[in-house]
């Protein structure tokens, strides 16, 4: 037996429901309750709660896409679509000690630049710390960045990447998914880019739809024929 149902805040959940403990509260009588609007996935007596709404809270190890909002003396402040502004230190970007005489922070990254970075530390008492010391991380110089609800990210990736791989296969675009709900899309042509946007928009609107991956695969195939792409 498998089915899906939408639950709302305060709605009691079965005691064996699994899911992010952030979004499942236990009341004074010991009953588990949903804390946000979400979906219960029931599959072979396994119940899993996934939220449909909610803000992004940084976690060490997350790959995020940020926008530089301020240039400091030895660091940058980065908006990562979360309640907390992230910090990126200059030593981390340079990979060597910072020399105030020769290095100009504004030349390296300026306000409005997009970066792909990794959250290296966040303990809720201080703002999250970012790093770009890994292959592929750093300033984003091409393509397009779009924003979706952070709670949609698991659905956009799909089981073991099934959804995102399908979209990349069908469109030939390269997509980098930031855990904070920002997607970096690199397409060979703009026609393909609009196909990706179409698919992402449908996922954002109806994440709880059954057989969404197959539905989108067919839709993309049809659209490619119609648009002659």
């Amino acid at each position: 037996m498998s089915y899906r149902k939408v639950v709302v805040p305060g709605e009691p959940l079965e005691p064996d429901t699994e899911g992010d403990p952030k979004y499942i509260v236990v009341d004074e009588s010991g009953t588990k309750r949903a804390a946000v609007i979400g979906v219960i996935d029931v599959r072979d007596s396994k119940k899993y709660f996934s939220p449909l709404e909610g803000a992004y809270v940084p976690k060490p190890g997350d790959i995020v896409i940020g926008i530089v909002t301020n240039v400091g003396i030895t660091n940058w402040l980065v908006d990562i679509n979360s309640p907390y502004t992230a910090v990126l230190n200059v030593q981390d970007v340079l990979g060597r000690p910072y020399n105030p005489v020769t290095d100009d922070l504004n030349r390296i990254l300026s306000v409005g630049d997009f970066i792909l970075a990794k959250v290296v530390a966040f303990d809720r008492t201080r703002n999250p710390l970012l790093s770009v010391q890994e292959k592929g991380l750093g300033r984003i110089t091409e393509g397009k960045v779009i924003e979706v609800k952070p709670t949609r990210v698991p659905r956009i990736i799909g089981k073991k990447g099934s959804m995102i791989n399908m979209i990349m296969e069908e469109t030939g675009c390269n997509i980098v998914v930031g855990t904070n709900g920002r997607l970096w899309i690199k397409c060979p042509e703009s026609e393909k880019e609009s196909l990706v946007l179409l698919a992402i928009k449908i996922i954002e609107r109806e994440p709880h739809r059954k057989g969404l991956t197959e539905y989108l695969r067919n839709l993309l195939k049809q659209e490619k024929l119609i648009r002659g792409a």
Binding site: V6, V8, P9, G10, E11, P12, K22, Y23, V25, D27, E28, R33, A35, V36, I37, V39, P51, L52, E53, G54, A55, V57, P83, Y84, T85, R124, T125, T151, R205, E206, H208, R209
Partner: protein
């Protein structure tokens, strides 16, 4: 107001019906809608009869003034405001003593259910704007704010609903409107979270006996159960509607 009008307006007629045709235990027609604003993280419009209130939620976000932040949880900031066109005579848009008080009362009605510990040092802003006032604006405001918070994805222990009970011509009546509030003997707004058995707002203006108070509270809590059920239905519809849209 009151006084001289009292003899002219019959608030309860011979058959026990109220001036608008409701029986004492009837609610006004209620309409709820979520996601009515694009720029807010969450929003809701709630109507209790002619009372119409819109609520918008922003956050959790960094508070504009760092010194107001709390180290262990998010702060909830609520602004209750009546639009200049919400009343019969134009209301000055400047926040009045009453609006500042109601902002506090609504905030305290929401604080017990918002799980603010999840977002330390952050702020959650709730704007409650009364578009049209016909009695019961604070309880309608609490209901709208609760829906808007849920729409914004702020974790909550339960949903809150509110309704007022009043006494007119010696009879306890549910969900009083402006006329009944002005000419009646008592007005008792109540907000509660029925899922977790908590009353989060309880005020009383006027005089009730102990029996009347207990009976009135029971009437209000029963009505709030129905109101919260409607809130849940509204939130569920936000998602179940889209899946029926296309085949």
């Amino acid at each position: 107001m009151g006084g001289s009008n009292k003899s002219e307006v019959k608030l309860i007629d011979e058959s026990g019906k109220r001036h608008d045709g409701r029986s004492p235990e009837d609610l006004r027609p209620i309409r709820m809608e979520v996601g009515v604003l694009n720029n807010a993280n969450g929003s809701a419009l709630v109507e209790f009869g002619r009372t119409r209130v819109i609520a918008a939620v922003y956050g959790p976000k960094e508070p504009p003034q760092k010194y107001v932040a709390l180290p262990d949880r998010a702060i909830l900031r609520v602004r209750y405001h009546m639009a200049p066109f919400s009343t019969e005579d134009r209301k000055s848009p400047a926040p009045s003593r009453r609006e500042i008080e109601l902002s506090k009362v609504i905030r305290e009605a929401l604080e017990p259910v918002v799980i603010s510990e999840l977002y330390p040092r952050a702020a959650i802003d709730v704007f409650v704007e009364v578009l049209q006032a016909d009695g019961g604006t604070r309880t309608t405001g609490v209901t709208a704010a609760s829906l808007a918070l849920a729409d914004a994805g702020i974790p909550m222990r339960a949903l809150v609903g509110g309704v007022a009970v009043g006494k007119v011509e010696g009879v306890l009546v549910l969900d009083i409107d402006e006329v009944e509030d002005n000419l009646g003997e008592a007005d008792m707004p109540v907000a509660a979270a029925p899922d977790i058995n908590k009353v989060t707002l309880l005020q009383l203006n006027g005089v009730l006996t102990q029996e009347e108070f207990e009976r009135g509270l029971e009437m209000a809590l029963n009505a709030i159960k129905k109101i919260v059920e409607m809130e849940k239905e509204t939130l569920r519809n936000k998602y179940s509607k889209v899946s029926l849209e296309e085949v």
